[in-house]
């Protein structure tokens, strides 16, 4: 039997970063991960730091009006946090914040950029609208078809293969404990505490992995795309849905693309990493695996996605035609019903918290820091009430007895 203050379910970025912030706040933490740390979305994502609002959010502008107002200060906090992250964790994370551009090809798209610019600057974001000629000078790798772009100086990328483990290592130094190969399969509310049980998953860590029992005061559900499954173990519905995404990467190339490149009207994100490879993604789907409750169950790439993604990318950056596709891979991320994160205490369950949601690489450190403050001190430095799972309480109306 292991006991701790906080049991974190899920060893992705959010779980490992929360382990770090919570131990720093004096909590005894155990992270339970069914596979290997960083084996889920956190180790497979595109590593983009995109601070401009994604266009998909603007499409829901009206419904989200109130929430977006909260997203902007949140974003500013994230930027601040990223700037200090390598120092904080004492590791080279291949972090670059050399600016990101969101490009437009058509008059219609230009107009959307304009709207986006006005909307975001009104809310306090610092952005720059680049004309075609300014763009030519700054980003000569772009095709002539690109008419303009919105530039955000803070954007960039970081190596997702490193970040989660850097947090885990820093947390470990402060005393956090990590049990990999340990899949949580039961969560019970006892009178004053929580009881969890794990089973071994295939890729077990010999020393710690496998079947074990845990007692804790607090649970943090940080199971990413699997947060809903984990939630149901405690008898609560968390409306987060798994989405399979495809990524493409080229061989190492000489310096070519010096920004994070996104598109306002098409699914595209592109960046060149330190070794020279170009990572190409942007939300092209993959076929979901049977969800087995572990991050390593791979989604399958879709041929249409690979071709469509590369075609889009090559139209925007024509030099891509001379490169090779080195590899494709897939990951499973979670999206919530309303596109906003799930961040806070679950009203139906005492001392049961959740931190999950989209764009969780860019905002993962911030989600983790704020949820840790909430767990340890009951309040946060930035308001996160709009992201509370309380907004979905209605779907848990009939679940009350299920968790007991």
């Amino acid at each position: 039997m292991h006991s701790c203050d906080v049991a974190i379910i899920g060893g992705g970025l959010i779980g490992c970063a929360a382990a770090f912030y919570l131990t720093r706040l004096g909590k005894r933490v155990i992270v339970l991960e069914s596979d290997a740390l960083n084996g889920g979305a956190s180790g497979r994502n595109a590593g983009s730091l995109h601070f401009q609002l994604e266009y998909r959010l603007l499409e829901y502008q009206e419904q989200l009006q109130d929430h977006i107002a909260h997203l902007v200060p949140f974003t500013r906090r994230a930027i601040e946090q990223w700037r200090g992250l390598e120092t904080l964790l004492g590791e080279d994370l291949e972090l670059v914040m050399h600016g990101g551009i969101m490009v437009a090809e058509t008059a219609d798209q230009l107009q959307r950029l304009q709207q986006k610019y006005e909307f975001e600057t009104r809310h306090g974001m610092q952005l720059e609208l680049l004309s075609r000629s300014e763009l030519r000078a700054r980003a000569p790798y772009l095709d002539d078809r690109v008419q303009g772009a919105l530039y955000c100086a803070d954007e960039g990328h970081c190596n997702p293969r490193y970040l989660t483990l850097a947090y885990a290592r820093a947390a470990q130094r402060l005393g956090a404990v990590f049990h990999t190969g340990s899949r949580v399969h039961s969560v019970q509310r006892l009178r004053h505490e929580w009881a969890l049980a794990t089973v071994a998953s295939v890729a077990g860590d010999a020393e710690h992995g496998g079947r074990a029992d845990y007692r804790c005061d607090t649970i943090l559900n940080a199971a990413g795309a699997w947060a809903a499954d984990v939630g149901r173990l405690a008898g609560v519905h968390l409306p987060i849905f798994p989405v399979g995404l495809t990524m493409n990467v080229t061989e190492e190339a000489p310096p070519l693309v010096g920004h994070l490149v996104q598109h306002v009207g098409r699914r595209l994100s592109m960046k060149q990493v330190r070794e020279g490879n170009l990572l190409i993604g942007g939300g092209w789907s993959a076929r979901l695996p049977e969800l087995t409750g572990t991050g390593s169950a791979a989604a399958r790439p879709l041929y249409r996605s690979v071709c469509g993604n590369l075609a889009t990318a090559a139209e925007v950056v024509p030099a891509l035609r001379k490169l090779h596709l080195l590899r494709t891979w897939t990951g499973v991320t979670g999206v919530t019903a309303d596109q906003l994160p799930l961040l806070g205490e679950v009203p139906q369950l005492p001392r049961y918290f959740v931190a999950a949601g989209g764009s969780g690489f860019t905002f993962g450190p911030t989600y983790a820091e704020l949820i840790s403050q909430l767990i340890a001190a009951g309040e946060t430095a930035y308001p996160i009430a709009p992201f509370s799972p309380a907004r979905f309480s209605h779907i848990n109306m009939f679940m009350r007895e299920a968790g007991h």
């Binding site: 060893g11 596979d35 290997a36 740390l37 960083n38 084996g39 180790g43 293969r161 490193y162 483990l165 885990a168 290592r169 470990q172 990590f178 990999t180 190969g181 295939v202 890729a203 077990g204 860590d205 010999a206 020393e207 080229t250 061989e251 070794e275 076929r287 390593s296 791979a298 399958r300 790439p301 879709l302 041929y303 690979v306 071709c307 469509g308 590369l310 075609a311 090559a314 891509l320 035609r321 001379k322 490169l323 090779h324 596709l325 080195l326 590899r327 494709t328 891979w329």
Partner: protein, 481 residues
């Protein structure tokens, strides 16, 4: 596009035997191979434009040669040369029963739908890292051999062979016959270990042909004054941007003798010949279950008694299911075809079983011999451990040393799987997709954490298994609309 009945990846003995059996029962069969002709690694033929009199006429090749002739003359088999199978694509929703292969050939990329797929992709040399192994001039012994066999070219002047697999004797002899000078052939294991076979007199008798062939090779090497040494190996390759000499150390009780007793042998090419690694990346990418075997080639594809993998409609035969040589490959290929015929309803169970019976009989004896050979052909891990010094390059593609890799494992105690090691270290992310370093990443990680290779697991195999020009994908995308 109507799916073909059977797509076979690999035109080696396994693929050829399967194709012949399948077309004989009326299946439509397409065989895809990266090479220009049939034969696989054992019969890497000279290209059509180079005519060779009495090519590979030794007795041991006779049955394989006959298989090759029959396959090449069978007009029912459709061949697809110089074409790489890049991976398994998602299935076509209109035809979910068929698998779809992603191909890249001289005409660009394309797709091939098949009701059944047999992966008979063979194996490649196990490339054991040691100091200097990335120097030009250090080659896989099988690679040197293919220069002689197929290109009719002796790729240098003075050669050394080092490793543990008897194939190096054959290659040394071929180089010598072609006019190259062989300075030495070095076996890491003591002669006693190799002579383990003598404890199985019956088995030896049944495979006398092969033993006599090796005996003949040894005799010719001896007559030519070429030293064949046991219990010593190359511990470093030396030279300025090109191999100039190798450093040789003797082993006593599995331990390299000290520095001062080591000897340099001048040479321009070194053939490294420690056993083989199976090409299981395609089945793994398709989701087939694999098991670990240090002697039989790393992650080998699990098959049932009919060469069926764990994925419906996907079969594996030949080296891909564990290194066992050309004869076993041929029999397994035939068995796989019988399974396909049965599963597609062409043969009923009784018919298939009847046809399979003689194949199985041959296989059981061949399999036993292969198992003994595999066992004596791989030195104990301790030998590799001494070769993999900290400064040795572990992953050539990404330039990651053994020491750097070990350091990361020290720093990150949570790394326990091959995939998590790959993510953190970049091993296996380069142009070869981990085909070469994967074996050592698994073994090093298992050692470090004192866990089994099964717990470490393989790298996830990703498509494309070999890099493909984006321009070709785009051209195909336009064609498909």
């Amino acid at each position: 596009m109507r799916p073909v009945d059977l797509a076979i990846v690999g035109a080696g003995p396994a693929g050829m035997a399967a194709a012949l059996t399948a077309v004989a029962h009326g299946l439509r069969v397409v065989v895809i191979d990266e090479q220009q002709q049939a034969g696989g690694q054992i019969l890497r033929q000279p290209p059509a434009a180079i005519r060779v009199r009495n090519w590979l006429r030794d007795r041991v090749y006779r049955r394989q040669q006959q298989l090759l002739q029959r396959a090449q003359q069978d007009s029912r088999i459709e061949w697809c040369w110089q074409t790489t199978v890049l991976g398994f694509l998602d299935r076509d929703p209109h035809d979910p029963a068929s698998q779809r292969l992603w191909l890249h050939g001289p005409g660009g990329t394309s797709e091939l739908a098949a009701r059944s797929v047999l992966v008979a992709a063979g194996c490649h040399d196990l490339a054991v890292p040691f100091p200097g192994w990335n120097l030009p001039g250090v080659m896989a012994a099988g690679g040197l051999q293919a220069m002689v066999k197929s290109q009719q070219l002796v790729p240098g002047e003075r050669f050394v062979f080092a490793g543990s697999h008897p194939l190096q004797l054959i290659v040394a002899d071929q180089i010598r016959r072609g006019g190259g000078e062989v300075a030495a052939v070095l076996f890491a294991q003591p002669l006693g270990a190799m002579l383990g076979v003598r404890k199985r007199p019956l088995l030896m008798l049944r495979h006398l042909g092969k033993l006599l062939h090796i005996g003949g090779v040894m005799w010719r090497l001896w007559r030519a004054g070429i030293p064949v040494r046991f219990g010593s190996t190359v511990v470093a390759a030396e030279g300025e941007r090109q191999l100039a000499a190798v450093r040789v150390a003797r082993l006593r009780d599995g331990v390299f003798e000290p520095e001062q007793t080591r000897e340099d042998i001048a040479c321009d090419h070194l053939g490294v010949c420690y056993s083989f690694l199976v090409a299981s990346e395609l089945p793994r990418q398709a989701g087939a279950a694999v098991s670990w075997s240090a002697e039989r080639g790393g992650w080998i594809v699990d098959v049932d008694g009919w060469q069926r993998s764990s994925v419906a409609g996907l079969y594996a035969a030949g080296e891909t299911t564990g290194v066992a040589g050309a004869d076993v490959a041929r029999e397994e290929g035939e068995l796989a075809a019988l399974a396909v015929l049965q599963d597609q309803g062409v043969l009923d169970a009784a018919q298939a079983e009847k046809l399979a019976a003689p194949v199985r009989r041959r296989l059981s004896s061949l399999g036993e011999f292969a198992a003994v050979l595999a066992q004596i052909s791989l030195p104990p891990w301790g030998v590799f451990e001494q070769l993999l010094t900290d400064s040795t390059t572990l992953c050539k593609c990404q330039g990651i040393s053994v020491g750097e890799f070990g350091g990361l494992l020290q720093e990150h105690s949570t790394i326990a799987t091959a995939n998590s090691a790959k993510l953190r270290s970049r091993t296996g992310m380069g142009l070869c997709q981990g085909r070469y370093c994967g074996y050592f990443v698994t073994r090093l990680l298992a050692r470090h954490n004192e866990i089994s290779a099964a717990e470490v697991g393989p790298f996830s195999a990703r498509s494309p298994v070999k890099p493909v020009p984006i321009a070709d994908i785009l051209a195909r995308e336009r064609e498909l609309g």
